[in-house]
């Protein structure tokens, strides 16, 4: 357990609206080891981004974390989010066009972040800002440029430089490449991955793209309707999925190879339940081909640290 940088223990995030209480995250646990890249995958609304927001204490009201604890470097940070933001855990958002303040030069935004967290002089901060830009492949002389003069991919590079500037130990990347062109996506992912590997920084990579998961992550967590469906080593989970939902996700991922031309893509029938209409028992059972009686009655826990599925109850997973 010692090499766990972050432990998310049984957290629930709830929203109250006039019809009652909705659970956006339900009893979710996962952990991140030092230097590893953990992927979080799932459909829209499954709670991937919410997990990231919960870790940083950035859930927008009226939502709030109603139970559970978040432990970071051996300390509970439930009430200490401000202290860890940026310096310890930092975040990258989906849309680089919206992530930078349009009215301020990127240099000012970099300097502000560096001077807030690092105990350095202004000239040292400028030096670091220039170095930071260089590392993400941007001409350091563009320190005085405004965000609108950069393309989407370049802005995401600036965002990465900003997120790395306070030298955090963990970066939560919330769909960092979804808004970018396919050709730029790989560059940005590689850049992020390499910079973090160099520094020993861990990443939580939130995405809905199974291809990105396969190429980038060490481990992967699959979320469904606010609950953890399956978690494990990426290769293991993708090649030998234990949860029927994971299996469905893997099968419905498009492939480009000789065998898959003109073959129809697998579809998981139905849609993910809305938060105000959650079925009893396992949230996935109405769509599950393998559902048994128990699935509609009781919510499964995570068996063998791997998957939350009743089918695994009596089956030990051999590692």
């Amino acid at each position: 357990m010692d090499d766990n940088l972050l432990e998310v223990r049984n957290i629930s995030v709830t929203f109250k609206n006039r019809y009652g209480t909705l659970k956006a995250l339900d009893n979710l646990s996962l952990n991140v080891k030092k230097g590893e890249i953990l992927g979080l995958v799932g459909e829209s609304g499954a709670g991937k981004s919410m997990t990231g927001a919960a870790i940083l204490g950035l859930i927008d009201p009226p939502g709030h974390m109603s139970s559970g604890e978040i432990w970071y470097k051996g300390k509970c940070i439930n009430d200490a989010h401000e202290a860890i933001r940026g310096r310890e855990i930092s975040m990258i958002f989906q849309d680089p066009l919206m992530s930078l303040n349009p009215l301020r030069r990127i240099g000012d935004q970099l300097l502000e972040t560096i001077l807030t967290h690092m105990n350095v002089t202004k000239s040292e901060a400028i030096k670091r800002a220039r170095k930071g830009l260089e590392e993400v492949g941007i001409d350091p002389n563009r320190l005085n440029s405004y965000p609108h003069t950069f393309s989407g991919g370049m802005r995401q590079r600036v965002v990465i430089a900003l997120a790395l500037a306070p030298e955090p130990s963990l970066i939560i990347a919330d769909e960092p490449t979804t808004a970018l062109d396919v050709s730029v996506q790989a560059q940005i992912l590689d850049l992020l991955k390499n910079l973090c590997k160099e520094r020993g920084t861990s990443i939580i990579l939130v995405t809905h793209d199974m291809g990105v998961i396969a190429q980038t992550t060490d481990r992967v967590g699959v979320l469904y309707a606010g609950r953890l469906a399956e978690i494990g080593d990426t290769r293991e989970v993708l090649t030998n999925p234990k949860h029927p939902y994971t299996k469905g996700l893997v099968d419905s991922t498009p492939r480009i190879d000789a065998n898959s031309f003109y073959k129809e893509l697998y579809q998981i029938s139905g849609t993910m339940p809305k938060l105000d209409a959650m079925p009893n028992g396992c949230a996935f059972h109405p769509r599950c081909e393998f559902a048994i009686d128990k699935c509609s009655k009781e919510t499964p826990q995570v068996f063998s640290d791997r998957a939350a599925c009743w089918l695994l109850e009596n089956e030990a997973i051999v590692e």
Binding site: E82, R85, G86, S90, F93, M98, L103, E112, V159, A163
Partner: protein, 325 residues
């Protein structure tokens, strides 16, 4: 950058020509200036001489440009009442209106933005909600009623502040100011509040809703995620982005403060151009009315020009996008 400024200047001048045209049409065609000037006993020969002297036989465009040419030299003819030059009348009244307008605009803008920020940051708090519901009164009460209520409370009942007039003024060249005497400042309080209250609530509500909108943006969330303090997030990131639309509305409101001053000046018998205009309307004093119209038009155009330039100063995107066109 320069290109945009010159283009805006060009547009402003065009607008001014149109305002001048309307002003001229009122001057020339509302009522008959000859009747107004001569009285009933004038002979036909005298009338003809005056028509010739006023250039009323000239073609339309010539009269129009003549009007503009004179207006550029601040010559709007003589008032029908008292036969004083209109420009002198306006010059003697203008300081009062400008001091009133500037004071209430300052009051509305500063307090409006501050309270707006407060209610946005403390969204849902008791004080914020109280302010918000009270502000509905400011939006819904008509100006003259607020003025009368204030007079009743602070002048009649409490006797703290004067109910009318400007108090003692000090002459600085042709400018008469009430800022330098205690009675002048006391006199300024009630009219400024009356005139500025509506704008205050409007700016406050606008600032609040814009700020709430901006605080939902990703760059604000990103600034928070980078661990910046809430002071840095609110004032370095959220506020500047909030101010862009607030400035537009505030600019337009400053113009309407001058226009609405008519009502406030009437309620408080404030000796400004608004009161001058109202009296001119009573006596069909056309030259004063048309000069006032032109003056308000010029003020609006100047304010809009300043607002446009402020835009450019605040938002780098506009600076670049407009020059590349």
């Amino acid at each position: 950058m320069l290109v945009i400024i010159f283009r805006r200047l060009g547009q402003s001048i065009l607008v001014l020509f149109i305002v001048a045209l309307i002003s001229f049409l009122i001057f020339r065609y509302v009522g008959n200036p000859v009747d107004n000037l001569m009285g009933q006993e004038a002979t036909l020969a005298q009338r003809a001489a005056l028509i010739e002297a006023l250039g009323l036989n000239d073609p339309f465009y010539k009269q129009y440009f003549n009007f503009i040419w004179k207006a550029l030299q601040f010559d709007f003819g003589n008032s029908y009442r008292g036969a004083l030059p209109v420009s002198e009348l306006i010059a003697s009244r203008l300081p009062a209106t400008i001091e009133l307008a500037v004071t209430s605009a300052f009051f509305a803008l500063v307090l409006g933005v501050i309270i707006g920020i407060y209610t946005a940051i403390n969204r849902g708090g008791y004080i914020a909600n109280l302010i918000l519901s009270t502000s509905l009164i400011g939006v819904s009460l008509p100006t003259f009623l607020i003025g009368v209520l204030l007079i009743w409370l602070f002048a009649v009942e409490l006797k703290w502040l004067p109910s009318f007039g400007r108090g003692d003024v000090v002459q600085l060249g042709w400018w008469s100011t009430g800022f330098l005497t205690i009675s002048g400042i006391k006199s300024l309080v009630l009219p400024s509040i009356t005139l500025g209250l509506y704008q205050l609530t409007l700016i406050m509500r606008l600032t609040r809703s814009e700020m709430l909108e901006v605080m939902r943006q990703d760059y604000v969330r990103f600034a928070k995620a980078l661990g910046l303090s809430s002071k840095q997030v609110n004032f370095n990131h959220a506020l500047p982005n909030t101010l862009v639309p607030v400035i537009t509305i505030a600019g337009l409101q400053l113009g309407s403060i001058v226009a609405f001053a008519i009502i406030t000046e009437t309620v408080f018998q404030w000796p400004g151009v608004g009161l001058l205009f109202i009296n001119a309307v009573y006596f069909v004093d056309i030259p004063v009315m048309s000069a006032y119209l032109l003056l308000v038009g010029v003020l609006f155009v100047i304010i809009n020009l300043i607002v446009d330039l402020l835009y450019l100063a605040i938002d780098p995107r506009l600076r670049d996008s407009n020059t590349s066109e």
